[in-house]
Amino acid sequence: MLSSATVRSLLRRPSRTLLTILGIAIGVMALVTVGALAAQLRRVVSRSEAASQGVVLAFVAPEAFPRIEAQLPRLSKQLSRIPGVEGAVPEVVLPFHFGPAQRERFGPPQLIIGLPDRRAGLLNSTLSISTGSGPASGDERLVQVGSDFARSEDVGVGDVVSLYGSSYRVSGIYGQSFTVFDSAVFAPFEEAQRMVGQAVPAAARRRIRARDIATDFVLILKPGTDPSLVADRINLIDGFHATDPHRLNAGLETTARLFDSIIFGAALVALIIGALSVVNTMATAVRERTREIGIRKALGASDAAVLAEVMLESAAIGLLGGMVGLLGGAVLCAYLDARAAAAGSLQLFDLTPSLSLGALAFSTLLGAASGIAPAWGAARLNPTEALRRL
């Protein structure tokens, strides 16, 4: 498409062409960056939905901790009796560390997750070990970490991490799942219970035995069960609360849709700014080259040929603007992702091939469409009139 003649034609007024290309590039860069952010959000939403498929989390209210003492087996049975629930497995989730460092991060919090074997099995479809080895029963000093956690805390297989005053060796690192688990440490269930025991106030510590602690129960649903109904029933039990997964997913969907709207808005702004810029450039170019168009017509150029030549140039401006904008957007996404990773936050952008190709196609079509009016004017020029102009 970009023949050397088209490039030479564009380079007749290099600064004007460059400014027009930059105008489109800025619009495309905004489109690509916001689009990549939205794509990443959609990926996180879909992976999180998949990870929570078939389960409902029943959280234990902190004030209920003393009351559930020595009742884990009984509570598990009580929760398992809820219609549609196949089983209830206790788990322990607590923050990796307290204090400002936890709050400064962007993205999901860093967590320590203590999983009994049955719950660990449920995560196999979401998580898989990419380096090292997974949980091994019997060795309570081994932990596994998520990919974002490994990167932000700079730990690898064999390294030692300190969790609530005790040291644990990292046996494996999970591959990226784009879920909350990427920034988590997976510890043996009993060890996580001990950590919670240490974290509760001293006054309460005497009344709670570590082996009776659970922060939530994972309710495994029977196929076809409506998780909303199960969540409603959990909320009727004193000391428990559950979030309706449908409502949670709907909230995430709303956020994703909001980002889609932002993309549309960015695309619209790019459309208006870029289109006006190309229209202005091409109208000026046609005005400056009126005599040249007259010569082309004298040589036998049809209206369609002149139309195509001018539109080809404007499409080339759009394509070049798209390429520069895509490159700029990719660099910006990579830079912001690197900064986020250094700060221990999750990956923010997902610059997909379809988004990249879409942005290029969009900018090229925008360029071509913006050239229609000036091209039409050029095509309809009377050759004699055009040749008279100097």
């Binding site: 040249e292 004298a298 209206d303 009377n382 050759p383």
Partner: protein
Amino acid sequence: MIEFRDVVKVHAPKSPREVRALDGVSLTIPRAAFAAVVGECGAGTPTLLTIIGALDTATSGTVLVDGALLHTGSRRRMAQLRARRFGFIFQGFDLISSLTAWENVALAMRYAGTPAHEARRRAKELLADVGLDGRMDHLPGQLSGGQQQRVAIARALANRPTIVLADEPTGELDSTTAERIISLLQAANERYGVTMIVVTHNHELAQRCDPVIRLRDGRVVG
């Protein structure tokens, strides 16, 4: 053969700027002639050339080329006619500044529908014929006036036209270069049997032409 029968051309009719550029012109130019059109400024010579070259239409009267009415049909047909039957040489050379010498020549052939590779081959052949072997890839700005006019001649002959219209082809050239250009035009006329119609103020050039059509105030005066 070109025939004008009582051709009138009025620019900006019924307006304060109305100009009767051609006022009942009748003339005949035989096939393969080397004709000159001479006249002072405002005589109507450029208008005559644009009407013969199908760039413009007459207000009234009849224009025939080889017995067929010239100005009939759509804009597209007129464009095709210009591409296939006519060649144009302008006073100011008027090459496309962003195209190289061979691309300027090939462009005319591309408009006539010649395949790209064939257009390139013939363009280079024509440039060699006018003595520009070593200047094929030069842009117009890198060529002298005489060289640019030779490119323009090659471009005018590209589609093997039956009629070449030249508007002051030596107007911007020194006498030596002008002589060379006149020789090239004569050679093309003799070699290809092209009807050459030259608008000129150059007496030496006009003396070599037959017929010589003199215009004054839009009328043929001799």
